[in-house]
Each structure stands twice: as structure tokens, then as C-alpha cells.
Amino acid sequence: MSRLSRPAALTLSTAASLALLAAGCSGDGGSSGLPADQESSSFSAEGDGVRLGILGQCEGPFGGFHEDVVAGTTLAFARYAGASPNSSTSALEGFSDAEVAGTPIELVGIGCGDDTADRILQEVRRLVEQQGANVIIGPLSGDEGIAVAEYAKGKPDLTVFAGISGSQEQTLQVQAPNYFRFYGDGAIWNAGLGDLLYREKGWRKVAVIADDYSFGHTSAAGFVADFCGVGGEVTHRVFPPLGTTDYSSYIAQLPDPDEVDGYFWAVGGTGTQAALEAFVNAKGDLTGDRHAGNFFFNPDLAQALGTDIAGAHIGGFATLPGDIQTPEIKEYLAAADETWETIPGSLSGNEPAPPSTSAAFGFFYGYYSAGVALVEGLKAVDGDISDPKAFQSAVAGLTLDLPHGDISLDENRSGIVDVGLSRLAVNDSDEVVQESVAIVPGVDQTFGGTFSPDTPSPGRDFPKCEKRDLPWEGKAIPVVDGVPQR
């Protein structure tokens, strides 16, 4: 009968392969005999240099930006650490010869997220615990940032430079001492937009529609705090899940155009266009000046929606709007073009294109800023990272001189930044382009006390719509023809 011949071979082979694997793994990387009980992997055993892991997204709504973000970090090392990319047509091949103050920077791996916190945790654990990374650059998206910041909290010897993840909570609430963000958050990027629409466009009542996840919530929170702060009223808040394709039922929850003065959209990725198309189908013609959005509003929307989208106002991003061209920005874009022949970035539909196409957008730039922060941090400690605490406190005190403006950190290690507001306009050749309107200087993530570690995280009904004083009210610097009138 079967009991004597139960899966003996199977069990035996499983045991054997397990033992083999165990043996194989223990011999790997010179860490044999490492007790599994240890909380954090011992970084110093891996050598004195920087062992860098980059967290990107190769799947999910932002999967198209995988090249862009890795290229961003690589460009920083190419400009300031003597690195040369291993391929002239792709950043994913890695780079070599990066060195700052005698300390080499070695790329140990590129993590592949899919916009979920679970996946990015697995990726960061793989990079840190398996590949021995002691510095992480990334992640890309809102929920991922919170998860990675929480992870960093339990690994004090690890240093994380956030990539372009824009949720507020990762710095303001989590407060990991080794997690640094050299750019703004979703709320910061909409600072001053409500003020501008209230004063200059006479908007009084607005309906808000935003992605139902931490970045959408943060982005909407910034607009609500700002617009309500100056006296406006938010009548509706609608939150479709991220990745929705048919927005009609969410559009139906929005008021009709005669009930409000305008709509604020924080619907990102592939959803921006789909949501606006659903709006046109349900509510009639699109008049751009009745709409405002976060940075996901871009001139490409005109391809499907026509030039009627012109007039819409847009919040800022890590980069200033494209029509502002300072010498520093030009130099930065030229450096990108010198580093590679082409990069198949997201803005060119992942087809080969001049690298400056990717470099001009915030995803690339956020990772670039993180790379520059790592270089400057290493310089500040003379390349000696044997004491992670000293390295981290040096990083916390940095002020980076970046192409789109200087960035320093607040006490929660989140960037204090200038926000460039813009609108879509039609140029002489009948194309929709982005035109800067104003720069709001020195915005930090607290919004003058509206947000603090003790307040709830931005959510579907936080912050409340109420009048409040905002530090930048009336301080916006107007921009005329791409030139800030400082």
C-alpha cells in the first residue's frame, strides 16, 4: 500500500536541494556562518565603499519610467563622480568608475517595483540583505516611500535618498533619521495654486478629484489647504482607485459645470487622459480655464483633448516648468546628452530619444538630485562612511546647488523647495505648451502648521476646508516669458 512508498524520493530530493542551496548560499559573498538572528547585515564586512541599490519601477502604472530614474542617478555620478555608463543607449546596464573623495560607488542592483508597498519591501530587502547595499536611492511612488522609510527606520546603518516618491507621510510622520528627500512632496507642489486661482481667476467653489492613494491624497491636500486657506470652498472630493480605466462613475459624482467655478485633478499616470475624456463625455465641452491639475497635466493631453485644454493651470513638480531655461538648466540638459546617445525614456514612449527629453522631467530629476546628494554627502565626510551616523548628519545639513534651484532639508529631512506654477497655452504654431506663471519660493511641507507629525496623514477628508494663514500668501514671484521677476 501507499504508506511505505509515500513521496520518499520527493522528500529526499527536497531535503537534498535545500541542503545544497543552503550550502551554496552560505558560501556566497563571504558571509558564511552569519547568524540569521542578526537584525541588520554587517555593512562594513562588504568593504569601505558605497554599495548602492537603486529602487525603480519596472512594472505598474509608472513602469515606463524605469530607464528615466536609473539614468537620473547615473547622470549625477557622471557629472560629479567621474562615472561612465556601461552602455550609450541604456542606463539599466549600470555604470563604472564612480568615485568620490577616494570612495568608490558600486551599483549592486536595481530594484524592480510595481507601485505596491509589498513589492518594494521585497525589493529593498533583497538589495540590502542579499546584495549588501548600504545606500539606497529610491523609491519612485507614494506608498512605496512610506514603506521604504519604515524599513529604513529599522536599519539605522542604511542611508536612503528618496527618488521621487511624493507622499507627505514618509518624512513628516515616519521620521526615519536615515531617510532623506531632496525634493518636495505632492502637497508642496500645489502650494500657491489655490491662492492664484482664487485671486486671479476668481474661483470660489471647486470640486476635487484625486487618485485614491497616498500621493493622490497628498497632492489634493496641498491644493485644498491652499485654496481653502485663502477663503475658497471645496464642494466635492472624489477618489477613484489608482489604475481605474473607466472613470465615468467617478465623473458622475462630480458636480456639473454650472455648480462650481472649476475642477482640480490629481489623477496620474495613464488615468489623467482617461478621466478627462470621461469628463468631456459626461459633462460636455472642455474649457481649459475651468480646470487645474497637478503635474500630471501636461501638453500631451492636447493630443486627445484638443487645444481646448489650453488655459488649465498646473501645479509644480521637482523641476520648474519647461519654458524657464537658466544657464544651469541648459548645462544640465547638455550634460545628459553628452552622457548617452539615446535613452528610451517614458516621455518618448520608451523609444530611443535624446537623453535631455527624459532629463527635463521630474522623475529623472528627482533621482538625479538624490545622486547629487550622495556625492555631496560623501564629500562632506571626505569619503569616510565607516560611521553611518556621521555621514547621515552631514547629509542632513547639506544645501544642494541644483539646476532647478537650491534645496535644503527641514528637520524631518524633507526638501524646502521653490514651486513653479504654470498653465497650458497655445503658441503661435497652434500647439499646446506649458507656460510658467509664478514661482512660489521656499515651501516646506508643514504648510504653516496645517500639517505636522501630530495631524492625520492626508486622506479623503483631511485636511478640512477652512481658512488659514499660509506663509507664502502674496509672496509668489511672477514669471513673464519664462523669466522670473525676482
Binding site: 540569521a36 497616498s214 496623514s457
Partner: protein
């Protein structure tokens, strides 16, 4: 059953495997133990509940990952003291464990009772509906799920060091493996298999068919809940996307890779899945043939397809067949000299395949 009956080759090998796993933390790297193997145990435990329902009850459930998540969410809500997310009830961690398992088991009983009159494809569809509804319940009722998930979930102090979580996973897995197989030999388990094979006849014999199915679903839910607790301790966070339809299907895929009719297969499938996820991209030159980490789902899909074509019973089925081919079939010897023969036929009917 006497002690001598227990001294079979498979039991000895199983015990040897457990011994190897017990000493593994001093042989392998921390990452292999705390990441690869711990995750294997967690996913294997959850997949074993699918196997249990399929093997003994003929029910293929897609709701196991939901119950896995319910336990995680309930623990997070009950145990967290402060923070911007969840209910922050601040209970003692072990009280939270009891609460989480109680809620999960109750939910499993209710869902199992509702589904107890459906079988086959309809049961699969119904449990998929549960999974989808469950996802939206947690996505929409943000008071219990965040908003955007519960983070910074701490495990009880007893399980503080990661290696203890590994041992907890190992212990629970062994318990589930032995327990599920033992259940199959109890009166309840035998009746359940009867229900699987011929519900009409069992009903006419006086068995309460829906109750048996509901109770089996409840037991599976309890075990999935235990796996969910391990998962939330291991991962430190849970959000609605953790229990969306994608991960739900992955659990079914794990069960299929291993073999949906064998308990060993659940852990074997989980092990293969985690190994591929973790190490495939490290193989030399693998990216030259276009298999980068972004193609991971494609690779898993191809593997599942190949396994389905070669062996509907998964990897354990392949192993079984190889063994049969390597060793000529021995004639069945005389009945064991000690103890009366069990009055049970061992013909098993699983997923339309009859195996002796």
C-alpha cells in the same frame, strides 16, 4: 496506529527534512533564512489551505488570501497603539492575535456557509467574488485599512529576532502539514471526502453536506489566518493592494506549481515561486535573453503553463511519476502483520482525476 507504523520511510525523511530546516539558520545566510525560507513557509501555509479544501473537499478556493489579509488587518488594528492609520486599539499583542484569529475564523465560517451549496466552478467563482469584495471592503472602509494600509506593525516581543519568525513559520507549517493530514483520517475528514465524491449519497446517508463544507472552509480560514499573522509580522505592513486579485491568483499559482492535490506541494510551490522571484535575475546572462526582473510574471506564467501540460498534479506529480518510472512497480505484499487493516479505501478522486 502503533509506534512501529510511524516508522515509515516517508515519515523518517520528513523528520530528516525538519531537522535540516531546524539547523538551517546556522548553515545559510541570514537573507536566505529570514527572507526566502520565511516567505516560503508563510505562502506555503496559505497555499496548504487551498490544497486542504481541494484535496478533501473538492473545493478550489480563491478566498484564502482574503482571509490571510483579514487576519493581518485585524492584528494591525488591534495591536497598533499610535499612528495616523487604522483603529489604533493598542491591545496586548497576544490579545490582538486571538482577536485576529477569531475574526478571521468567524469570517471564514460565514463565507463558507454562504458558499456551502455550490461546488466546482461555481465555488471557484463565488470565492473569487469574495476576494474582490474583500479587497474593496478594505480599500473603501479606510477606518480599518489605513488610509492606504497599516504600516509599522510590530511583532510580539517573543518573535522579535527575525530567526524566531522563521522558526514560527517552520513550526506552524509542520503543524499544518501534520494537522491537515490527520484531519483527513478523522471521521470528519472521511465524511468530507465522501461529500467530495458523492454529495447526494452522503446527504441521503444523513450527513449534513453544507455543514461539512462550511466547517472545512472555517478550518482552512483559521490556518490561512495564522499564515496572515506571520505575513504581517514578517512584512511589517499590509495594505489593500496586498490582498488584491493579483496576489490572490499568485497563491493559486503556487498551489498549482506544487500540485493542488498534495500538501507537500504547497510548500514546494511556494519555495519554487520565491526562489524564482529572488534568484532568477541573478543567473548569469539571463538578461541577455530578455528575461529581466520585469519579465518575472511571464516566466512564472510559462512555468505554470508547462507544469499544467506536463503534469496536472504539479511538481509533486512529476516527482511521483519519475519515481514510478525509475522503479518497476513492486507487487503489493501481504497485509501488515500487526493491527487490523484499515477499513478505508484509498481511492482518491481529485479534480476529475482518479488515483489509486
Amino acid at each position: 496506529m502503533t509506534a512501529r507504523d510511524l516508522l515509515t520511510r516517508s515519515n523518517l525523511l520528513g523528520a530528516a527534512l525538519v531537522v535540516v530546516l531546524l539547523v538551517l539558520p546556522s548553515l545559510a545566510t541570514a537573507y536566505f533564512v529570514n527572507f526566502v525560507m520565511t516567505q516560503t513557509f508563510i505562502l506555503g501555509l496559505a497555499a496548504a489551505t487551498i490544497v486542504f479544501l481541494a484535496k478533501y473537499g473538492g473545493m478550489i478556493s480563491l478566498a484564502q488570501f482574503l482571509l490571510f489579509g483579514v487576519a493581518g488587518f485585524m492584528f494591525g488594528n488591534a495591536a497598533q497603539e499610535t499612528g495616523a492609520r487604522g483603529l489604533n486599539l493598542g491591545w496586548h499583542p497576544w490579545a490582538a492575535v486571538v482577536f485576529a484569529l477569531a475574526v478571521t475564523t468567524a469570517a471564514a465560517f460565514v463565507l463558507g456557509a454562504l458558499a456551502s451549496r455550490s461546488t466546482g466552478l461555481y465555488f471557484l467563482m463565488l470565492t473569487m467574488v469574495y476576494a474582490v469584495i474583500g479587497y474593496y471592503v478594505f480599500a473603501q472602509i479606510v477606518e480599518i485599512s489605513g488610509p492606504g494600509g497599516l504600516t509599522s506593525i510590530q511583532r510580539p516581543d517573543l518573535l522579535g529576532p527575525p530567526v524566531r519568525l522563521y522558526y514560527a513559520g517552520l513550526g506552524l507549517s509542520v503543524l499544518a502539514y501534520v494537522g491537515f493530514r490527520a484531519v483527513g483520517r478523522t471521521a470528519f475528514g472521511l465524511a468530507l471526502q465522501g461529500v467530495r465524491d458523492d454529495p447526494v449519497r452522503m446527504a441521503s446517508l444523513g450527513f449534513n453536506v453544507p455543514l461539512h463544507r462550511a466547517l472545512a472552509f472555517t478550518l482552512a480560514g483559521f490556518a490561512a489566518g495564522a499564515g496572515g499573522l506571520l505575513n504581517v509580522w514578517w512584512n511589517g505592513q499590509i495594505d489593500p493592494a496586498s490582498i488584491a486579485i493579483g496576489p490572490t491568483l499568485i497563491l493559486l499559482i503556487i498551489a498549482v506549481i506544487g500540485g493542488i492535490s498534495s500538501f507537500e506541494g504547497a510548500w514546494l510551490g511556494a519555495f519554487v515561486y520565491v526562489l524564482i522571484f529572488t534568484y532568477l535575475r541573478d543567473l548569469p546572462l539571463i538578461d541577455r535573453v530578455g528575461i529581466t526582473e520585469a519579465r518575472f510574471n511571464t516566466v512564472i506564467g510559462v512555468i505554470v503553463l508547462v507544469i499544467m501540460m506536463l503534469s496536472p498534479e504539479g511538481l509533486t506529480g512529476i516527482a511521483r511519476r519519475l519515481r514510478r518510472r525509475l522503479r518497476p512497480p513492486a507487487r503489493t505484499g501481504p497485509a501488515p502483520s500487526t493491527g487490523p487493516p484499515l477499513p478505508v479505501r484509498t481511492t482518491e478522486k481529485e479534480l476529475g482525476v482518479t488515483r489509486r
